[in-house]
Symmetry: C2
Subunit: 219 residues, 2 copies
C-alpha cells in the first residue's frame, strides 16, 4: 500500500510514526512541513490537516492524524509485528507508558508553546530552554519510577519493541534537544540504548533526517 | 466486578473515566485525591500511582492509569456498548479527536503547569487565567474546524456517544472553568449539549461531584 506522511525532521511525533512504519516494514514517503517557520498554518496544509499539526498520515486517499492514533491504526490494519500486546492489561500498560509523554510531557515542549511563552511572559531563549529541561526531566523521572516497578526485558513490555518503547525513545530524543543527560535515569537509558541499536529507531532519529542534514550543512 | 477509581472532582481526566464507566453501566467507587493541595505527591498515593496523577483505576487488584488507556481497557474487557467503533479508520478518527484535547490542549491546563508558570515567570492569577483561556480557545477552534469537515450526527462518530464525545465534553468543561463561551463554536456547543443531556455525562460533571459540593457549601 502507498503511504505518505507529512512530517518534520525535528518533530518527535513524526519520529514515532517513522519508527512504527519501519518496525512494520511498511514503505512510505515523507513530505516535509517546516513547523519552525509555521508552514503548518499555510492554507494548503490546513486543507490536508485541519488540526494544523504534523504528522499527517495518508493511506489510499484517507487522512489520519495524531501519532498515537496512527500507530494504533497500523496495528489494526497490519497486526504483525504487533506494536501493542493482545492482552487487555498489557495493552493498557503499553498505552499508559505511551501517554506519559504523549499526553503529559511532550505537549509542553512543542514550538507553539515555546512561542507563546516568549510572547506572553517575555521568556528569553534561556528561560525557554529551562522550561523544556524542567518538563523533560519530569517525564524522565516519571518513566524511571514507573519502569523501576517492572524492569524492561529488554523492552518495556518484553522481548520485542512496541508502542511504549517508541514513545519513551522519543522522549529521550527530547532530552537530547535540551542537553539533558540520562545519568539519573539508568533504566530509561538502557531501554533507549536497546531501541537505538535497532535500524528502525536509529534511521528515524531526527538528526538522521534529510531535512536536518540540509539545514545543518554549510551554506 | 469491583472497580475503584482514585479521582478528583475538578480533574477532567477523572470526568472522562467516570463517563466511560457510566456509559458501560459499570458500578464504581471513587476515592478522592485532592490535586489542588498536592495529595497526589504524598507517599501513600505515590505507591498506588507511580506517575502521581489522577485518575488511577483499580480492578481486581490490578492498577491502571492514564484516562485514555483506562477507557480503551474498558472497551477491551466489555465491548458493549462500544466506546470506539470497530472499523480501523473510524477507530483512528475517534482516537484522533480524543487526542486533540488529551495530547494537545488539556496538558497545558493542569495544576502543575499553572503552578510552574507562577513560580518561573511570576504569572499572577490573571495571567494564568489568560493562559488557560488561550489554550482552551485553541482547542475549541480546532474541534470546530475538524467537526466542520464531518458533522456530528448527533455524536462525533454517529448515533451513539463514545470516546471522542467524552473527550470533547471534557474540553467543554474546561471552557466553563475559564469562563469561555461557545458562541464561536456552534458545532462543539451542539455536540456538548447532546452529551450533557445524557445522565452518564450530566452526573459525571465536576460540579456535580460530592467533593465540589462539600467545598462549595457554606462553612
Amino acid at each position: 500500500m502507498a503511504i505518505q506522511i507529512y512530517g518534520f525532521w525535528r518533530s518527535i511525533a513524526s519520529f514515532r510514526v517513522r519508527v512504527a512504519l519501519k518496525l512494520k516494514g511498511l514503505a512510505f514517503e515523507e513530505i516535509p512541513i517546516d513547523i519552525l517557520t509555521g508552514e503548518q498554518f499555510e492554507p494548503d496544509y490546513a486543507a490536508v490537516n485541519a488540526e494544523r499539526v504534523v504528522p499527517t498520515f495518508i493511506h489510499a486517499g484517507h487522512t489520519l492524524f495524531q501519532s498515537l492514533a496512527i500507530i494504533e491504526y497500523l496495528d489494526d490494519i497490519q497486526p504483525e509485528p504487533r506494536l501493542l500486546p493482545r492482552e487487555p492489561r498489557e495493552r493498557a500498560y503499553a498505552r499508559s507508558l505511551a501517554l506519559m509523554t504523549v499526553a503529559d510531557a511532550h505537549p509542553l515542549l512543542v514550538p507553539r508553546v515555546r512561542n507563546h511563552l516568549a510572547k506572553t511572559f517575555g521568556a528569553d531563549a534561556q528561560a525557554i530552554e529551562d522550561w523544556g529541561k524542567h518538563w523533560t526531566n519530569e517525564g524522565l523521572a516519571t518513566y524511571e519510577r514507573v519502569l523501576a516497578g517492572r524492569a524492561p526485558a529488554p523492552f518495556a513490555l518484553g522481548g520485542e519493541p512496541g508502542l511504549a518503547d517508541i514513545c519513551i525513545a522519543g522522549h529521550v530524543v527530547g532530552a537530547q534537544y535540551v542537553k539533558l543527560g540520562l545519568d539519573a535515569f539508568p533504566t530509561v537509558a538502557r531501554l533507549a540504548e536497546q531501541c537505538f541499536a535497532l535500524p528502525a529507531f536509529a534511521t528515524s532519529h531526527p538528526l538522521e533526517q534529510p531535512g536536518y542534514k540540509a539545514a545543518a550543512a554549510p551554506h
